[in-house]
Symmetry: C2
Subunit: 195 residues, 2 copies
């Protein structure tokens, strides 16, 4: 359900509020940029995250003062972006990027329930390598869990924004003698480096 904050005022055809679109982007990306204000100062911190049902889970050390600020229940904006391509037009003005992004507005809630924390830890491992949380990895001990602050942000107020397709040049530019098109981009794994 679009709200004032999640309704796109510009280029509204790029917006998509369907939960399945939002979830698919959240489940593909690996890093969220988490924004919040501390004493009026905006911070944007890159963080790993995991989605479980209708919540995004963030975590870090209990010694992390920014995460502790977040866990006090402040307003947060969680943004996730997948860069899909460079859009090279014949005019500088129409250069663009293809991307899929999600913006979530909400209030971060500290998670104290140990079962919920352990589910979040398992989900965080699963994101990096599916199946790994039950394949021999040692899950957090009580002491490790105590050292880890877990924060939940509900995906209640969220929107996706997507650009796909070729550049859209002005008709008078289409004969300019310069290549135009899309260079697809994809985050690609290299050969694993065993430790």
């Amino acid at each position: 359900m679009p709200t004032t904050r999640t309704t796109l005022r510009r280029l509204p055809d790029r917006g998509d509020h369907r939960p399945e679109t939002v979830r698919a982007i959240l489940d593909e990306a690996l890093v969220a940029h988490v924004g919040f204000a501390v004493d009026g100062q905006p911070w944007v911190i890159p963080m790993t995250y995991a989605r479980l049902d209708g919540d995004v889970y963030l975590h870090g050390s209990v010694a992390n003062h920014l995460l502790r600020s977040l866990a006090t229940g402040c307003q947060v904006c969680v943004t996730v972006t997948l860069l899909d391509g460079l859009v090279l037009a014949r005019s500088a003005f129409h250069h663009s990027m293809n991307y899929r992004s999600v913006v979530i507005f909400g209030v971060a809630e500290r998670v104290d329930d140990e079962d919920e924390k352990q589910r979040a830890f398992a989900a965080l491992v699963e994101r990096m390598a599916p199946g790994r949380s039950t394949a021999g990895v040692r899950l957090p001990s009580p002491a490790e869990s105590r050292k880890t602050l877990v924060v939940r942000v509900p995906i209640d107020e969220a929107s996706a924004k997507i650009r796909t397709g070729p550049p859209i040049d002005d008709p008078e530019d289409v004969d300019l003698p310069v290549w135009a098109g899309v260079i697809p981009l994809r985050l690609t794994p290299g050969a694993p480096l065993p430790a």
Copy 2:
């Protein structure tokens, strides 16, 4: 020069304040996550950007209300993240990611000088394909420039944070029967799609 905001309190050995480190990360990444508050609400918006000397340039439509808010000179946090790898440890607790990130704190300034705007436009095209701004692309007309709001953020208060290398497991976990190591990640171009 580290300030209170750019001094890492946690894992300070991951911090790097050298301008050449900050610039190299800014010049490699393609998307910045720009955070600022509007009426107390934090926003984090993914944006393309270009660095020219000691400034980062952001741009968008003059009709974009968020960019207009930014151009009024509010406090901004510009964060850029390169994801370099998944760090798979034998314990969930020591899973991590390899990354290089930059955080810039500053005040956004609206750019009205037409020469400076055109330099920013050329730099934005160059980032997507080096050499392209002088290879036949039509640079912005006066009307297009008027439709484009350009904002400059000085890179005066900035820090980089970098994690590299293998997982660091606890000694008692190293014999667990699970693969551990790094899966390198890299944003890779695909075959160009001509328009």
